[in-house]
């Protein structure tokens, strides 16, 4: 047996031991833990706003911290900033490359970012009289699948080149590169304390990274296909993932494993995006079958559906004050539900 074969075996053996250790602490499941909780009511949300303006598939959207503004990115080559309550388009940012896959709003509200098949993350300043490109972050060797601001000076990106990176917006250079995934990185989510983040990739793994030292701290398995969406719970102790294997899963950081899965035999299309209600009780998951399903995170049951889109729901978002849900779709419309 060659040296590499031996190493491969050793790594596998360790993995088996890890699984055993995880099983050892898994002394109960969510069903028992939540048995005393009243079931969530049947949730039926109505479309309150239909935002029309994009001319092609919407790939991403992100709420601003002020709970009213949001940015959406579409393959018609535009970023649109909406005052979602009035439905007005506050700003339109023309993109150099129309193959956009992600967008992000800075917590301060001053900047937005976009990126996609051009392998770059472009940051724009919304507060100058004319919207200016602040920086073009160009170092990834694969498409940009997700970007999130930490502040006006730092941004995290996930890329199809299997890496995630932390950038310094002053210099435009990568400060830290997070290497460990073997498949395209598709999504990332910042922890509430901003010291770490989780990423999901096409290798079906979710990984927890420490922003300060750049190391992968924990790896979570369980999915059997690409992880398309990931979101930290507001408590910072767990996160939820959505995958092409048609399921969502909640992973707890302290227990170091999956604690509950959200699946239904009747659902056989992949999850494209997800968002959590403010108490994290409800999970809004967008699927390939044009619907957004609502899950009760404690009971593991589907409690509602948001139907109305004519094509895949590509992005979902709940504003920080938890007032509503926004879904964006490949049918070029954004809908706000409550």
């Amino acid at each position: 047996m060659g040296e590499m074969e031996q190493m491969k075996k050793e790594a596998e053996a360790l993995k088996t031991q890890i699984e055993a250790a995880r099983k050892a602490v898994h002394d109960t499941d969510m069903a028992s833990a939540a048995s005393g909780v009243a079931p969530a009511p049947r949730v039926q949300l109505k479309t309150r706003k239909n935002l029309k303006g994009h001319l092609a598939k919407i790939y991403a959207m992100h709420w601003s911290t002020d709970n009213r503004l949001m940015v959406s990115a579409s393959q018609d080559g535009k970023l649109l900033i909406w005052d979602s309550h009035t439905g007005n388009k506050v700003n339109a940012v023309p993109l150099k490359s129309s193959w956009v896959m992600t967008c992000a709003y800075a917590p301060s509200g001053n900047l937005v970012a976009s990126g996609g098949l051009d392998n770059m993350c472009t940051v724009y300043n919304l507060k100058t009289p004319v919207i200016k490109t602040v920086k073009e972050l160009d170092a990834h060797t694969g498409y940009l699948s997700c970007a999130r601001f930490l502040s006006d000076t730092e941004i995290l990106t996930a890329s199809g080149d299997t890496t995630c990176a932390l950038w310094d917006l002053e210099t435009g250079k990568q400060k830290t590169v997070f290497l460990n995934h073997v498949g395209d990185c598709m999504c990332l989510s910042l922890s509430p304390d901003m010291n770490s983040f989780v990423s999901g990739a096409c290798d079906s793994l979710a990984k927890l990274w420490d922003i300060r030292d750049g190391q992968c701290k924990q790896t979570f398995q369980g999915h059997t296909s690409d992880i398309n969406a990931i979101s930290f719970l507001p408590s910072g102790n767990a996160f939820i993932t959505g995958s092409d294997d048609c399921t969502c899963k909640m992973y707890d950081l302290r227990a170091d494993q999956e604690v509950i899965g959200y699946q239904d035999a009747a659902l056989n299309s992949g999850v494209t995006s997800l968002a959590l209600s403010m108490s994290a009780r409800l999970i809004f998951a967008g699927y390939d079958d044009f619907n957004c399903n609502i899950w009760d995170s404690l009971k593991g049951e589907k409690v509602g559906v948001l139907s109305g889109h004519d094509n895949r729901v590509s992005c979902t978002g709940v504003p920080p004050d938890g007032m509503c849900v926004c879904t964006g779709s490949w049918d070029s419309f954004l809908k706000i539900w409550n």
Binding site: A24, T171, V182, G183, S235, V259, S279, C324
Partner: protein, 471 residues
């Protein structure tokens, strides 16, 4: 019947299972007894058999599924967009017109689930046929596609032309009506599968993805790192699931009253009533915060610190206790962590002078070990150099000042004074005309009745279409 694509490793990915649902409906629409009544339609001088009008489709959908006009139109449009029904007049305009515009069902041979993806070769043959049949028949973008294909698959071009000629010859031998029908079907198929540029492509699946990216070399180095990573992971401390889940359940329950989607909100949800008072009452600079907001400060120290009003109140309290410098220090550290890199050395210097130097005006009490480590780090100041000191002060405040603040008169009085907003009744805004569905059908009647006049903390909100899930 779902569309499956083969990824590079031969793993089948299921896509668009909604097509199965669509096809079931289409089949029932064509049922000889219960389906749509088909008749002959006149198209210019020819009579096309088995056709129906847009209005037929629309009415059948409403009757069969008891849905509203809006929803019937919506579903009808989806059928046309995905090529299951095609228009005979204006074939390039893939929409459903609810009048006597003629439509036909697409033959299952051309259904998305049977023939996908549309191959380049087939498209080339189709364009070649059009070109041969009538010069100048190809429109602009088709000409471009034709030329591009000619270049790309030049090696099989003879085959393409030969096939095109054969198919044209075979079709000449058919009855005119049949020929027209077959041409319409084929044309409809290609309009869906090769839409003109600028129109929405309904079939696109997004960029190519790789499960195992070739950039990552699975070599000895990789496995060495894997082993190291796994060893560390094995040694980590794991908390029992019961404890983790219990804390999660507690969190959900604690925050449920604050979750507007679960329990509504006062005075009213701006998205439902168009009244923005909620946002006004909860903005950053409000002088009297709401009760819910003040309550949240007692959930965790971070809740208090992340709310600007909370921070201000806490600072006032600390000033009374002569320990305000702790909060100021914590904020200064946050500024270093999240500010510009170039400003870090300057800021760190300031922090040292104000808070850490012996005899500093706002000296904070840090244990000697942490102080030593921090001062060492100052030699090469970086973003996280103050982290340890910040953590120390954070925990000091959390364990000591924070619990006392929650018991203090300052907090209790604020809570007592805090506003519980009055509920805005929907009737206050009678002149706002909300768009309603026209003539709600029986299935929605109960919903419509409950719908009127309710913005309360009710746990049932109304849906605009839950019936898609009935398919």
């Amino acid at each position: 019947m779902t569309i499956k694509t083969l990824s590079q490793h031969g793993v089948q990915r299921q896509q668009m299972p909604c097509l199965t649902k669509m096809e079931r409906m289409i089949i029932s629409m064509q049922d000889p007894d219960m389906g749509i009544k088909l008749r002959n339609q006149r198209l210019l001088i020819t009579v096309i058999p088995h056709a129906m009008t847009g209005a037929d489709i629309f009415e059948w959908l409403i009757k069969k599924f008891s849905i509203s006009d809006e929803e019937a139109l919506h579903i009808g449009q989806i059928f046309v967009k995905y090529g299951y029904i095609y228009p005979l007049k204006e074939p390039r305009n893939l929409i459903l017109k609810v009048d006597n515009s003629p439509y036909r069902f697409q033959t299952p041979y051309y259904w998305m689930s049977t023939r996908w993806p549309a191959s380049e070769l087939d498209y080339a043959i189709y364009l070649a046929k059009k070109n041969i049949r009538k010069q100048g028949e190809l429109i602009e973008y088709e000409k471009e596609c034709y030329n591009a294909l000619h270049k790309r698959i030049n090696h099989t071009w003879d085959f393409v032309v030969m096939q095109a000629r054969e198919q044209l010859r075979a079709s000449k031998q058919r009855r005119k009506a049949d020929r027209i029908v077959l041409e319409c079907q084929e044309q409809a198929y290609w309009l869906v599968n090769r839409p003109p540029p600028g129109t929405l492509d309904n079939i696109d699946h997004g960029p190519e993805r790789r499960t195992t990216n070739t950039r990552v070399q699975l070599n000895a180095d990789f496995y060495k790192k894997e082993i190291e990573h796994n060893r560390i992971s094995l040694a980590r401390n794991r908390v029992k699931s019961s404890i983790c889940l219990e804390s999660y359940v507690k969190y959900c329950e604690q925050y449920q009253p604050h979750d507007p989607i679960m329990q509504g909100c006062l005075p009213s949800n701006p998205w439902i009533t168009d009244d923005i008072m909620f946002w006004n009452m909860n903005c950053e600079t409000v002088s009297v915060p709401t009760k819910l907001r003040v309550e949240r400060w007692s959930f965790s120290f971070m809740e208090l610190l992340s709310d600007p009003v909370g921070r201000k109140e806490f600072l006032t309290y600390l000033e009374k206790e002569f320990s305000a410098e702790n909060l100021c220090f914590w904020q200064a550290c946050e500024d270093v962590r999240h500010g510009e890199t170039s400003k870090i050395p300057g800021k760190v210097d300031e922090v040292y002078k104000q808070f850490l130097a012996p005899g500093a005006s706002r000296w904070v009490n840090i244990d000697s070990k942490t102080m030593e480590k921090t001062l060492e780090g100052f030699k090469r100041p970086h973003r996280f150099v103050l982290d340890d000191a910040q953590m120390h002060i954070y925990f000091l405040m959390k364990k000591d000042s924070y619990p006392r603040y929650l018991k203090s008169d300052l907090y209790k009085n604020l809570l007592a004074r805090a506003v519980v907003p009055q509920e805005t009744k929907k009737s206050v805004l009678p002149f706002i005309h909300r768009q309603r569905h026209s003539s709600p059908s029986p299935a929605l009647a109960t919903q419509a009745a409950e719908d009127d006049g309710k913005t309360k903390n009710s746990n049932s909100f109304k849906s605009n279409s839950g019936t898609a899930s009935r398919l």
